[in-house]
């Protein structure tokens, strides 16, 4: 493997662009951010992900200068920025509502920030033209915000916030108001633009798919704390706890008790009358400790017979089938009453599907297929 992969967070020498140091933010008696520390590096596309009210928007507003931390410090390029007003920060924000100025044309909206810097006219014009080109809005410069579509408005907001070439761009639910198809296109466009401009992006979203698609690293937040900060694949494949496993994507969670069997291999006794399951874990668990086994539905194989040599296999009958076109999710009820989801690609036409309701089936997965988490 070449070492050209973009991963400054693994380099102990790298200096972070943004550094949260033990930041706490309280609104009255409510603690929105609770003693949080986080480093974000230059050129990252960093996603803050969590349910509403988890504090992700407060984090962003503190970066933008609209809120100040109650305790702790926030550094931008090595300088403490608490108390610096928004108009004095090399940070721009794209608002969830877009906040386009309704009395100004698209062109004037984009030029707004440049003019405040008192730049010469031709420079402003050149920069606005560049931004219009970047966001493919050349034809709409003269229109007012209410005369363009939602997707175009979103691009105007992006162009406006990028016009001043900020060190850091904050995006607050940038695709919240777009429909699904447009959102997917826009996600790739956003990644393109981020790459072209080399700006550090911090995005706030509650849509885990969006965070996984665009971000170089994802921070999963809950109740003002960071639960896990990692690359999308690590968040998905090796969540550190049940909250992250459950929040990201679809997952089967089996509760049981772990017993060490071999090197890093554990036996999990989980239900009366069901064979014990086996899984590996690099973190140590005590014998008899309660634990959770998280298995993604796509890692579970569904078959009519018990597969030869399968480590983990359970028997049940098909309770429900969710047909999603390219794949199907089978809900299988075991004898103990537990329902386990398994996903399979629809390689055949639907009329020739191998399984249907009430069919007895076997579910199996490998010893590394699931993630063992301490309870």
């Amino acid at each position: 493997m070449q070492s050209t992969i973009f991963a400054p967070w693994e380099d102990p020498e790298a200096k972070p662009l943004i550094r949260f140091q033990n930041v706490t933010k309280r609104f009255g008696t409510f603690t929105a951010i609770d003693d949080l520390s986080l480093d974000i590096y230059e050129k990252e596309f960093f996603a803050l992900l969590g349910p509403s009210g988890c504090g992700k928007t407060t984090m962003m507003r503190m970066l933008g200068g609209f809120e100040n931390p109650t305790e702790g410090r926030i550094e931008l390029a090595g300088k403490d920025i608490s108390g610096v007003p928004p108009n004095k920060r090399a940070v721009n924000m794209m608002f969830q509502s877009y906040a386009l100025f309704p009395h100004l044309s698209v062109w004037d909206n984009i030029a707004f920030g440049l003019r405040r810097d008192g730049r010469p006219k031709d420079e402003v014009a050149a920069r606005v033209a560049e931004m219009l080109k970047l966001t493919r809005l050349e034809k709409f410069g003269r229109r007012k915000p209410h005369q363009i579509s939602g997707g175009q408005r979103q691009r105007v907001a992006l162009a406006r916030s990028l016009a001043k070439a900020p060190k850091l761009l904050l995006l607050d639910e940038p695709m919240g108001a777009l429909d699904k198809k447009l959102r997917q296109d826009t996600q790739f466009e956003l990644m393109d633009i981020q790459e072209k401009t080399g700006t550090t992006f911090v995005i706030v979203t509650h849509d885990q798919e969006e965070a996984m698609t665009v971000a170089s690293r994802v921070a999963v937040m809950d109740e003002g704390k960071l639960i896990q900060v990692a690359t999308p694949d690590r968040i998905y494949e090796s969540p550190e706890n049940v909250y992250v496993a459950d929040f990201i994507g679809d997952v089967n969670i089996i509760e049981g008790r772990a017993t060490l069997e071999g090197e890093e291999t554990y036996r999990i006794d989980w239900a009366e009358g069901e064979a014990p399951l086996r899984a590996t874990s690099s973190t140590r668990l005590d014998n008899g400790q309660s634990c959770f086994l998280a298995i993604r539905p796509e890692k579970v194989t569904i078959s009519p017979e018990r597969p030869e040599g399968a480590v983990n296999a359970v028997h049940g009958k098909v309770l429900d089938i969710a047909y999603l076109g390219n794949i199907s999710t089978y809900h299988v009820e075991l004898a103990s009453g537990t329902v386990i989801k398994a996903q399979a690609a629809n390689t055949r036409r639907i009329s020739r599907r191998s399984f249907t309701w009430e069919d007895p089936v076997w579910l199996s997965w490998t010893v590394t297929g699931g993630v063992l988490l301490a309870g």
């Binding site: 933008g64 200068g65 609209f66 007003p85 928004p86 108009n87 940070v91 721009n92 924000m93 608002f95 969830q96 509502s97 906040a99 100025f101 309704p102 009395h103 707004f112 920030g113 405040r116 810097d117 406006r160 916030s161 001043k164």
Partner: protein, 296 residues
């Protein structure tokens, strides 16, 4: 037929309450003064048939309108009224805008109370409120007594019976008409627009001038017209607070009508005042219409 009946109702209303009185006043303005009851001539005598109608129309002329241009009292009064209306509208805006702004930014639970405080004076008689200003502004009034007591002045200020008293009266009376429409536009203003402006490099003050003011333009226009239009024809305030030296067209109109008993000239003064007022009223209507279109 049903559609005709439906629009006939409002049109009849307009005809009875606006057009008919206007035609009567217009007719009086074309008549000549006479020592009679009513105090003008000619009057329409339908009993004399066709001949009567002919004499009636031959008796009408534009003499009174010509007269308005000959005596400089009238155009001076119109100009003075315009000046007073413009200046007091400007003052009302200067005082009303910050109040509306404060109201729009006040905590949600306070707003009904604050709004009530603004509307409350309307619940007492307008006339009594103007009279009470006489009590405040006169030489022995509360204001002078207070200023003498604090030692800021040695002699009482002469405010009552000057144009300053008229400005105070008009600003006081019409302030709510300025505050309410401005408040309505500021209340709808999205807070994130101000944050976006600050984010893009505006100070608080420049964000106010570049975003808040342009976006409350419609409220400013509506409020200004609502103050300017009644202030131009104002009669009660200048006659009670302005003394004999303040010249306003409303007062001239009153004197022509009641002191001189010259109904035809008074009619002509009223018609010209109406024509002057029609311009801002039309502008006001267009502003309202534009606003309604912008919201669609």
């Amino acid at each position: 037929m049903r559609r005709f009946l439906l629009i006939a109702v409002p049109y009849t209303w307009l005809l009875a309450l606006f057009l008919a009185p206007f035609v009567i006043v217009f007719k009086i303005s074309l008549s000549d003064i006479a020592l009679a009851i009513p105090p003008y001539t000619p009057t329409l005598d339908l009993g004399a048939g066709w001949e009567g109608i002919k004499t009636f129309f031959s008796g009408l002329d534009f003499e009174n309108f010509v007269w308005l241009t000959q005596d400089d009292l009238y155009w001076k009064a119109y100009l003075s009224s315009l000046k007073i209306a413009v200046i007091s509208t400007a003052f009302t805006l200067m005082i009303g805008y910050p109040i509306a702004y404060g109201l729009a930014r006040s905590p949600e639970e306070w707003r009904p109370t604050l709004m009530m405080l603004i509307i409350l004076p309307f619940w007492t008689s307008f006339l009594i409120r103007v009279y009470s200003w006489m009590g405040i502004l006169s030489q022995e009034g509360f204001l002078n007594q207070f200023l003498l007591w604090t030692g800021l002045i040695n002699e009482p200020l002469i405010i009552l019976n000057t144009s300053i008293a008229v400005y105070i009266g008009i600003v006081y009376t019409y302030l709510p008409f300025m505050i309410l429409p401005i408040y309505a536009t500021l209340d709808r203003l999205d807070e994130s627009l101000i944050e976006a402006a600050e984010d893009l490099g505006c100070s608080r003050l420049s964000a106010f001038w570049l975003i808040t003011v342009p976006l409350s333009k419609n409220g400013i226009a509506a409020g200004s017209f609502l103050v300017f239009i009644p202030a131009l024809g104002e009669f009660v305030i200048p006659s009670l607070l302005g003394g004999s030296r303040t010249l306003m067209i409303g007062k001239v109109l009153w004197e022509e009508f009641f002191s001189n008993r010259d109904w035809p000239v008074a009619g002509a003064v009223a018609i010209v005042l109406l024509l002057i007022l029609v311009i801002p009223i039309v502008l006001f209507q267009r502003n309202q219409q534009k606003q309604a279109e912008a919201e669609q």
